[in-house]
Amino acid sequence: MSLNWDFIVEVIPIYRSAIILTIRIAIIGVVLSIIVGAVCSLINYYKVRGLNLLVRAYIELSRNTPLVIQLFFLYYGLPKLGIMLSNEACAILGLTFLGGSYMAESLRSGLEAVSRVQVELGLSIGLNTFQLIRFVIFPQAMSIAMPALGANCIFLIKETSVVSIIALRDLMSVTKELIGMYYNTTESLMLLVVCYLLLLLPVSFLLIFVERRLRYAEFGV
């Protein structure tokens, strides 16, 4: 079987703009997920009254519904409430809504693994709650939770492949379009796989590097 190289060369710019869109949604979505996750996990960890139950409810809603449906609600539901968002904003919001709960649960597992002794140690030298979190609890929790957080990052980046459902021209969407128009199925799908690998392999290696750095202190290399 021979590949149609002319076709490939011709459509590469289309894939390039699609991959840029995917990267933009993924980066902003993942970063916001980590922030939402950090806040939620701390609320759960400290069992903040009033907010704790709310966060638990959010987490269950978020991780037990598919992203496609969350995107539908944001894209078609929000305008009915008078909130108009761009497709891209909806995608980022949806990804954050989904990712926040995953990050929260992974971070919580890290927080809860930090021993009571470490907390007492921190208190005994006079740290206040904020300092205790910043210098003692969070660095150790991050180190413990890092593998799970890394898996979440990759999972979320891959989840962006459903945003075509709200009319965004991401990798998945342009691939389907090209197959529909030119029937060059093999070439189109191959480009799709290559793009995702180009996107995710560096992320994967970066995560390994970050994990080593973070865990060096406690576990050695």
Partner: protein, 250 residues
């Protein structure tokens, strides 16, 4: 330090602490003067560790009062953040912060809590490390150290805050036997320099050597309190006699 010997640093009156309905501390009265070394001994579960944890606020008490440097716990001008800077504590578990090097472990409190100059504290930390024989380990991570080394660093970490009193909670109980001595020697050195210390220990020979006063606890109360010589030679109570006998083999 010695100029103010005699001033009361820690005063505990009628201290009671319950877990559920059970009284772990059942009316403790104790006062520690500057420069004094008081050693608390007694059987497991008698409330020794709980007493120390109440003194620096890691456990809350239900009745009675604790005064640190004249300020009463719970009063308007009292804060644990301030009090804990004057109370150094060393724990049984010889834990350091595992993600920080030795020197960062020591600097955290003085720099972040006391807002002291990093360079000045570093000088003090290095001098203290030198004194406990660990100057060459300042850049190491805790995982690279033995239990005894970690415990000596833990002592330095507490000392570097320039506390008025040091609490030691069975600091050698989890160590391998050959490491006990190096830690006890550091404590003995501190005592000779006039540091005020409240020590919980099961090392009777060490207690004999270091203590100005022995506080024997049993069942959440102070059953006997006397100077070290008297206590070990002729304990006044039957309970203390029985406890001391468990340490001898014949």
């Amino acid at each position: 330090m010695s100029s103010k010997t005699g001033e009361v640093i820690l005063e505990i009156e009628g201290l009671k602490k319950y877990y559920d309905q059970k009284a772990v501390l059942d009316g403790i009265n104790l006062s520690i003067k500057r420069g004094e070394v008081a050693v608390v001994i007694g059987p497991s579960g008698c409330g020794k560790t709980t007493l120390l944890k109440c003194v620096n606020g890691l456990e809350a008490h239900q009745e009675g009062s604790i005064r640190v440097d004249g300020k009463e716990v719970g009063s308007d001008d009292f804060s644990w953040i301030a009090a804990r800077q004057k109370i150094g504590m060393v724990f049984q578990s010889y834990d350091l912060f595992p993600h920080m090097t030795v020197i960062d472990n020591i600097l955290l409190g003085p720099v972040q809590v006391q807002r002291r100059d990093r360079a000045e504290v570093t000088l003090q930390a290095d001098a203290l490390l030198e004194r406990v024989g660990l100057a060459d380990r300042r850049g190491d991570y805790p995982r690279q150290l033995s239990g005894g080394q970690k415990q000596r660093i833990a002592i330095v970490r507490a000392l570097c805050m320039n506390p008025d009193i040091m609490l030691f909670d069975e600091v050698t109980a989890s160590l391998d036997p050959e490491m006990v001595r190096e830690v006890l020697d550091v404590m003995l050195g501190l005592a000779r320099q006039g540091m005020t210390m409240l020590i919980v220990t099961h090392e009777m020979e060490f207690a004999k050597a270091v203590a100005d006063r022995i506080i024997f606890m049993d069942g959440g109360v102070i059953a006997e309190e006397s100077d070290a010589k008297t206590f070990f030679k002729s304990p006044a109570t039957e309970r203390a006699r029985r406890f001391l006998n468990t340490f001898y083999f014949e």
